[in-house]
């Protein structure tokens, strides 16, 4: 007999679907089938069962080969490189639980590390914009129940957040949106004809990198102000039409992604997108929500916020928390050669950072905590495989709208394997021993 485990959180993207059902073998060790999840989410569960999974920590040898070590040895190495360093970079955190993040932050506080998360190459500009202008927002259920005007700007949930449209934003039926997609007008702003654009009522094919101009024009159009013939490649009539469409709605929601945060203008694009949202509240109700990527990148910003007061790139190296994106952020530190040890958890900078940064990581004393073999592992000196949060261990996670949901354990990790939290506790104990402070 197999068992069905229900109400599981999917540990893939910021949509954090919590209705996943997993069929496991009667001994509770093997995942047989995953239902309700999108293709990427299902693969994430199934991949946990991969027979070639690395199950023990390893140290890289002089010749580049790996030598297996114990978790204790790996923890001692990690603690030593962190304590020896003047300014260790502790990067990632977005694919692990809030409890593990909190333990990691206590280590960072003791060793004077810089804690940065993946927002630094993702929604960091959004967080900076929020410092400037705030953020009128709502939970995804408000979108489901009320939104009759939905904009996707510079994002493509059909591929990046596959169940977003059916669970929350387009097809779902809510309390005041009983006809599902027929209750809503969908607008996609994207230079590309994406799969999301194909289901929209309006696809605004904006010229690449001209987001600021178009949003600015929409703010003008809300007031029926004068516009040139075209803005960002969009005819002015269309801009006026969209502005009127938004004003005539009862509840507008703007979702935005990397197409806006990492095109020219960066945080300024988000500044004005938020300002547009605030403006819309003079006519109707409007909210704006960033499409967060990793399932718990939002949680990392939250835990850093309540413990140290800033959402990412927090520099603890001077004994108190400093925050200055562009100075205390991971790539800036790596490229300027300011860090002398590298610690990675719950992310893969080897794949996503500029080559110049990855080369620096390759030279540094470094540890990578990751269940998988990744490009980051390849450039690290020590690799610590751990149980997968949300599959083999539970823990708190935050959805893209900041709603916290507890992830659940579905199956046991491979025998003898530690969780992120357990390994970080080992490191913390060792750091406390080296520093001579009480536990």
């Amino acid at each position: 007999m197999t068992q069905l485990v229900t109400d599981i959180i999917c540990p893939f993207c910021g949509t954090l679907c919590d209705d996943i059902e997993v069929e496991v073998s009667d001994d509770g060790k093997k995942i047989i089938k995953v239902t309700n999840a999108c293709a990427i989410g299902a693969e994430k569960f199934l991949h946990a069962q991969s027979p070639d999974r690395i199950v023990r920590p390893r140290m890289k040898q002089e010749d580049g080969s790996w030598k297996e070590v114990t978790y204790d040895e790996a923890a001692k190495y990690t603690a030593k490189i962190l304590c020896d360093a003047k300014k260790p970079l502790m990067y990632g955190w977005s694919s692990t639980s809030c409890e593990a993040q909190a333990t990691g932050h206590m280590i960072a506080e003791l060793v004077g590390g810089v804690v940065d998360n993946t927002a630094t190459v993702c929604h960091g500009p959004s967080l900076i914009a929020v410092h400037d202008v705030g953020i009128p927002s709502c939970t995804l259920g408000e979108v489901k129940n009320r939104a009759d005007r939905v904009i996707f700007w510079g994002c493509n949930p059909a591929h990046a957040h596959p169940r977003h449209m059916s669970r929350y934003s387009i097809f779902s039926r809510g309390y005041f949106t009983t006809k599902g997609s027929k209750s809503r007008k969908i607008i996609v702003v994207d230079p590309r004809p994406t799969d999301t654009a194909s289901v929209a009522d309006y696809h605004i094919q904006i010229q690449q990198g001209r987001d600021y101009e178009l949003i600015d024009a929409l703010r003008v159009a809300l007031q029926e102000g004068p516009l040139p013939e075209t803005v960002a490649g969009v005819p002015k009539e269309k801009i006026y039409d969209i502005a009127r469409l938004l004003k005539s709605g009862r509840f507008v929601t703007i979702f935005f992604g990397m197409g806006v945060t990492h095109s020219l203008g960066k945080n300024h694009n988000i500044d004005i997108a938020i300002a547009l949202t605030a403006d819309l509240n003079k006519y109707t109700k409007a909210a704006i929500i960033p499409m967060r990527g990793h399932y718990n990148v939002t949680g990392s910003g939250q835990v850093l916020g309540w413990q140290f007061g800033f959402p990412f790139c927090v520099d603890l190296s001077r004994g108190f928390a400093r925050y200055n994106p562009g100075e205390s952020s991971a790539n800036d530190l790596l490229m300027r050669g300011e860090v002398d040890a590298n610690f990675v958890i719950g992310s893969d900078p080897g794949s996503h950072f500029p080559f110049k940064s990855v080369k620096v990581i390759n030279e540094l004393p470094s540890v990578c905590i990751d269940p998988h073999m990744t490009p980051t592992v390849a450039v690290s000196k020590c690799h610590v495989p751990v149980a997968l949060v949300g599959i083999e261990v539970g823990g708190s996670c935050y959805r893209m709208d900041n709603v916290p949901i507890e992830s659940r354990k579905v199956v046991d990790p491979p025998a003898g394997m530690l969780t992120d939290g357990e390994f970080l506790e080992l490191v913390l104990t060792e750091v406390q021993r080296i520093k001579g402070v009480a536990a």
Binding site: T6, D7, I9, D18, D19, C98, A102, E109, L127, V130, H131, D132, V133, G134, I135, P136, S137, C138, T139, L140, G141, E142, K144, N145, R146, R167, R173, G174, Y175, F176, F251, A278, N281, T284, K285, A287, G301, Q302, V303, G305, W306, Q307, F308, G309, F310, P311, L316, G319, F320, A321, Y323, G394, S396, Y398, N402, V403, P404, I405, E406, A438
Partner: protein
């Protein structure tokens, strides 16, 4: 556990009626006792003031909106020095929205040991508990929001009090909440459409119920569940000139209600931050105090308690479940605005604010709070808060005490205002020469608040058998003459004992303590209707499943303290 003897202090304890007598306080096994053995650690409190640990009835210190405040205001860290780690202390920063560590250390420095987080959006309950778990030292509890909850609006509209009771009991259990909070009843739901409810008789869009019916219904449920605390109300029309009428209308709803509980609580309604609700005038031009009228009503009605929400004339961060208010505030000051509407339940908004003493409206707001506290006849029913951080950071409590205890200190503030005459003209504060005593301060900050929270048998006093939460302040009531000494002493407790453990020893924090989180577990008769409605609502209108909604005690609470009630009769 160690024994402690606090010797020779001037003790102020409204619970036992001690008004500054020199008395020894003994502690054993975490509670106050009559006497201890010769082996007890002796704390010499000669020339110092001894009170029970402070109990804050209303403060926003943990949860989603507080963290938005931290994360969206990096500049708030510049308002106060970011403190490095030392000894047992973690790094600690922020001023109006301090980090969890700073929150704990500053409350401890002020001699406070229990703090109620006054607004917990149920869907974000896990976040609130995670922050409270990471907040050392102080005992905490959180009040979930009900005034705009769809279940409640439906049940109360249909007069289904039993279903509303069963639902509230379920939600308190699911979110590990402490009591019933109601913010801008109906108005925050209306705000989801960009609207508001400004009087107690406005209809909530689509739900065909009025704020008056919501308030009355929630009070009925509160008493039928025998909850330790009463309805905790933030009424409609907060912050607007002329709103005192709405406030009086809201307070009058309590007429005829009687407290029904075993926790020693007498009130059926606690109206919070009443200062923000006691405004006269028709606009900002003729803005004036109606504090005297509102306090007169409260004085005459013993089934109501209130806290003030003193304006402290600082730069701060306003945050409330009153979403429409924050939007209007941002339209007023043009500073940044954050808002979150929460599906099925509630909403919130956050806006930075500068209460400048050079702006006459701020000056009048400052005087309204003090005026009301000085006109209060019973300080067991009128409490000291700043509605942290809305009217000012909680770290200003000692300054507020100074203003309450010294007319000279108040006159100094008046004299420093650009529009002194205008401010004096718009409230009666200038004509009040009352100066509160330490005994009355003890009522406002521990004995009274503990009683109103239904914790009066355990907290807020120094009677044998009570939890040993004790603060020793470097203040000699016989010789002190300068009002500044009040502010200094109550910001810098010399000793603090919490649950029998020494937290502050000779002005230095020496322990992160063993904090507790209180929550209320009420047993009610099962309701098939509520079970059905929960299933339906989670299936159709929530974005999390019913099973993923509950905050699990083992996972999110370090040291839970469950208050169990049987309300099945």
């Amino acid at each position: 556990m160690t024994e402690i003897l606090i010797k020779n202090g001037f003790v102020f304890d409204p619970v036992s009626g001690i008004k500054g007598d020199k008395k020894d306080i003994a502690v054993k096994d975490g509670v106050i006792v009559e006497s201890v053995s010769a082996a007890a650690k002796v704390i010499d409190a000669s020339g110092m003031t001894v009170m029970a640990g402070g109990v804050d009835i209303h403060s926003h210190v943990a949860g989603a909106k507080v963290n938005v405040g931290r994360n969206f205001r990096p500049e708030d860290k510049l308002q106060a020095v970011y403190e490095p780690a030392r000894g047992v202390r973690h790094m600690a920063g922020g001023n109006s929205v301090p980090t969890v560590f700073k929150t704990a250390y500053k409350y401890a420095d002020m001699g406070y040991t229990t703090v109620i987080e006054a607004a917990m959006p149920p869907l974000y309950a896990r976040h609130t508990h995670e922050e409270m778990r990471d907040t050392p030292i102080i005992d905490q509890a959180a009040l979930p929001l009900f005034g705009n909850n769809w279940f409640i609006l439906e049940y109360l509209k249909n007069g289904e009090i039993d279903n509303a009771s069963a639902y509230i009991a379920w939600l308190l259990r699911s979110t590990k909440g402490y009591g019933i909070k109601c913010v801008n009843p109906g108005g925050t739901e209306a705000w989801a459409w960009g609207l508001n409810c400004m009087t107690v008789n406005d209809q909530v869009p689509y739900f065909e119920i009025t704020p008056k019916e919501i308030i009355a219904g929630l009070m009925t449920v509160n008493e039928s569940l025998h909850l330790p605390h009463s309805l905790h109300l933030h009424s409609n029309n907060l912050g607007n000139p002329g709103n005192y009428q709405t406030t009086l209308d809201s307070l009058k709803i309590a007429e005829g209600f009687k407290a029904n509980n075993n926790f020693g609580r007498d009130q059926v309604m606690h109206h919070t931050h009443i200062q923000f609700h006691s405004y006269g005038g028709t606009g900002w031009g003729d803005f004036e105090s109606k504090g005297a009228e509102v306090m007169d009503y409260i004085n005459k009605n013993p089934n109501i308690t209130c806290d003030i929400g003193f304006v402290t004339l600082d730069e701060t961060t306003t945050m409330t479940g009153d979403g429409p208010f924050e939007y209007h505030l941002s339209a007023l000051n043009h500073l940044k605005w954050a808002n979150t509407d929460v599906e099925v339940e509630c909403g919130s908004g956050i806006v930075p604010y500068i209460y400048s003493k050079d702006v006459y409206v701020c000056g009048v707001q400052w005087s309204i709070g003090l005026e009301m506290a000085l006109l209060a006849k019973d300080h067991m029913r009128c409490y000291l808060t700043t509605d942290h951080p809305n009217a000012g950071p909680f770290t200003r409590y000692p300054r507020v005490m100074k203003w309450l205890m010294s007319e000279k200190a108040r006159d100094e503030v008046f004299a420093s205002m650009k529009a002194e005459d205008k401010v004096r003209d718009r409230s009666t504060l200038g004509s009040i020469d009352r100066e509160l005593t330490l005994y009355e301060i003890a009522m406002m900050t521990r004995a009274g608040t503990a009683k109103a929270l239904g914790m009066g048998k355990k907290l807020g006093g120094l009677v044998p058998g009570m939890q040993a939460d004790i603060a020793v302040y470097p203040y000699n009531p016989e010789t002190a003459s300068d009002p500044e000494q009040i502010e200094y002493a109550f910001s810098n407790a010399k000793y603090l004992i919490k649950s029998g453990e020494i937290i502050i020893n000779d002005s230095e924090i020496v322990s992160n303590g063993n904090k507790q989180t209180y929550w209320v577990d009420v047993k009610t008769n099962p309701s098939k209707q509520v079970e059905h409605d929960l299933r339906e609502m989670f299936l159709k209108y929530y974005t999390v499943t019913e099973r993923n909604y509950e905050v699990e005690e083992h996972a999110f609470m370090k040291n839970p303290n469950v208050i169990s009630i049987d309300a099945t009769q």
